[in-house]
């Protein structure tokens, strides 16, 4: 069935991202907005947009019933959930399909399967997908646990089965430390969870986070669009992503990508998905999880392969065959994404707020700023602090890095402190330049990522810039609504 009208059940940059492709395909776009978002571009630039009212996320962007009401009222053929929010909510995808509307995403069964950590591991073991070696059994006799740990090979990680938050967690490097670590972990687990069962897993030193972009249609075609390297993370939050992954042999790259396709074909997946792997320095890799949606970092893949992933999502949702074969997908050059957050990296990454006077525009070729804000809009306190994604392509990794550094200087968010300078410090770090990335990169290089001290000349430059601005008319910071600059508000003193 040809999709003629789509509702995007999301906000910000990803709502605009979906809108862009839909418009290119001649599809009408309906967006929704919470009242505190009504001045943002996703509320303004659609063919139709509907208010979700005031209130909490549950009342607005997570309000399944209201979203389906809007979809029915606006007579859309399909709903695109974006990422986050309801994108991996099986109940929502079923509700959408029961309302006779196409859900642009996988089946509810796939969402449920991959959302269940234990269930998904069981299903994937049947497909001989490599899992982190471990012991998850009920025999908790210390001698048995020691035997299992030796079988796995050191170092191992012992953690509470009921666990979370690092409680009852121990890294053990050699056999001698084992029995004490097991009893310590057990007593901590008992205190925290009233259950002293522990599990043992292989501990990967300096792991890399490598993920594979997948796309499957409903005609048995399961394709991959190669890998992404997403090891640069702060508190499990990715901040710099790139493709191709540096320092990866062609053999290993293909093996990882083909393993991911084994998963999508093995579970008969539909649409866009991403399989995340942990890659150990010895070249062994293990399944981490599968995300059953479009990822935040999908643009780097689009830039390097030259394919529009949202377009294929829509075609698959229409029941079409993917119009390409695996051999048509090639990696060309290098793309890097930097996530720009409203936060102060030099004040413990505290979120920042304020009115954005001006958003800098990247001027170089093959640079994309996916941004959900406009000049004059306000960054408030209610949503994720990601303001934009800067995605830069270059023919080589070296050029992609230097273009990114230049572009980070350009995309100033005047009025709101962002992590731009921190991103520059990462991208100019010697280890990053050499492609030595792993998931502990940020804590390991904490000292080198501290800000460069301001010189006397820097201070003098600030004084001069302030001096030239003194006495100029300043706009008041409005504490409530965002203030949008338009030709009409600019002409407020004009009478006709």
């Amino acid at each position: 069935m040809k999709i003629k009208k789509i509702l995007v059940a999301n906000r910000g940059e990803i709502a605009l991202r979906v809108l862009k492709t839909a418009k290119e395909m001649g599809i009408k776009v309906v967006t929704v907005f919470a009242e505190d978002d009504k001045n943002l571009p996703h509320a303004l630039f659609a063919d139709e947009s509907y208010s979700l009212g005031f209130g909490t996320l549950q009342d607005t962007y997570l309000n399944k019933k209201k979203l389906i009401e809007v979809a029915t009222k606006a007579k859309v053929d399909a709903i695109h959930p974006g990422y986050g929010f309801l994108s991996e909510n099986a109940e929502f995808s079923s509700m959408v399909e029961n309302a006779g509307i196409i859900f642009i995403g996988p089946t509810a069964e796939s969402i449920i399967l991959m959302g269940d950590k234990i269930g998904s591991k069981k299903a994937l073991e049947k497909l001989t997908i490599p899992m982190i070696p471990g012991y998850h059994g009920d025999n908790q006799d210390p001698d048995h646990l020691i035997k299992e740990a030796k079988k796995i090979g050191f170092p191992v990680l012992i953690k509470a089965s009921a666990g979370g938050g690092g409680k009852g967690m121990r890294i053990v490097h050699e056999e001698g430390e084992l029995s004490e670590a097991i009893s310590g972990a057990k007593s901590e687990a008992l205190k925290a969870f009233s259950n002293d069962n522990v599990l043992i897993e292989k501990y990967v030193v300096n792991p890399r986070h490598i993920e594979v972009q997948l796309m499957s249609d409903t005609h048995g075609n399961h394709l991959h669009f190669f890998e992404r390297e997403c090891s640069i993370q702060r508190r499990y939050q990715k901040i710099v992503e790139e493709t191709p992954a540096p320092n990866l042999t062609e053999d290993l790259r293909l093996k990882i990508c083909e393993t991911a396709v084994q998963i999508s074909s093995g579970i008969n997946y539909r649409g866009a998905g991403t399989v995340e792997f942990i890659l150990a320095p010895d070249g062994k890799f293990y399944f981490l999880e599968m995300n059953t949606r479009l990822q935040v970092e999908h643009p780097v893949t689009e830039m390097v392969t030259g394919h529009d992933l949202v377009k294929y999502q829509i075609l698959v949702a229409e029941g079409e065959k993917l119009p390409l074969r695996q051999s048509d997908i090639k990696q060309n050059g290098q793309a890097i994404e930097c996530r720009i957050y409203a936060e102060d990296p030099d004040l413990n990454f505290m979120p920042t707020i304020g009115k954005i006077d001006r958003i800098g525009i990247p001027t170089l070729r093959d640079v994309r700023l996916d941004c959900g804000f406009l000049d004059g809009t306000e960054v408030g306190v209610n949503y994720d602090p990601m303001l934009a994604k800067l995605v830069v392509w270059g023919p080589t990794r070296e050029i992609a890095i230097s273009k990114s550094l230049h572009s980070l200087d350009e995309v100033l968010f005047l009025g709101v402190k962002t992590n731009r300078d921190y991103l520059k410090r990462i991208l100019s770090h010697d280890k990053f330049i050499k492609g030595f990335t792993h998931t502990h990169f940020i804590p390991d290089h904490k000292e080198e990522l501290l800000p460069r001290a301001l010189s006397d000349e820097d201070m003098a430059n600030f004084v001069a810039a302030l001096g030239f601005s003194e006495g100029r008319k300043t706009q008041k910071f409005s504490s409530g609504e965002a203030f949008l600059k338009t030709p009409w508000t600019e002409l407020s003193g004009f009478r006709n």
């Binding site: 304020g354 004084v463 810039a465 001096g467």
Partner: protein
Amino acid sequence: MEKMFILNGQEVKVQDYKATPEMVSFTYKGKNYYYMLVTRNEHEMILDHGGRFRAAVSSSNKEGEFMIMANGREATGALSSRKVKKSGDQGKGLNSPMPGKIFKILKEAGSSVKKGEPIMILEAMKMEHSIKSDKDGVVKKIHYQVGELVQGGVTLLEVE
């Protein structure tokens, strides 16, 4: 003329400060600086002090602070005549754990509170965070009103 600025919470004093729309000059730490304005729009400018560089200054927020970018570096700044929180102000009372909107004030100034008792509710990321008293005492001062937006790390109220 001596003039004072606040940059990143620190007082910065300059001497022999002169400013016209076209030039700004001063002495800072014994060194003379002379800047010419090459061109500008509402917020952005190109300055020349021997070499040229980009600079930008935001509109001021209601605390009278500006965000300044100059030659790739960033700072928050204010003219000294404005009342501005200095970095030393933090920690005296109860601070906002993150930026938010004052949702409710549960205790007025003058009320007595017990340690752990909520005094104010801050709304951020669509969730409510209660600001609880860190001691038994009396609410001395509440610096904000319901509905106001506050930055992270600012003193919301004081308990004695």
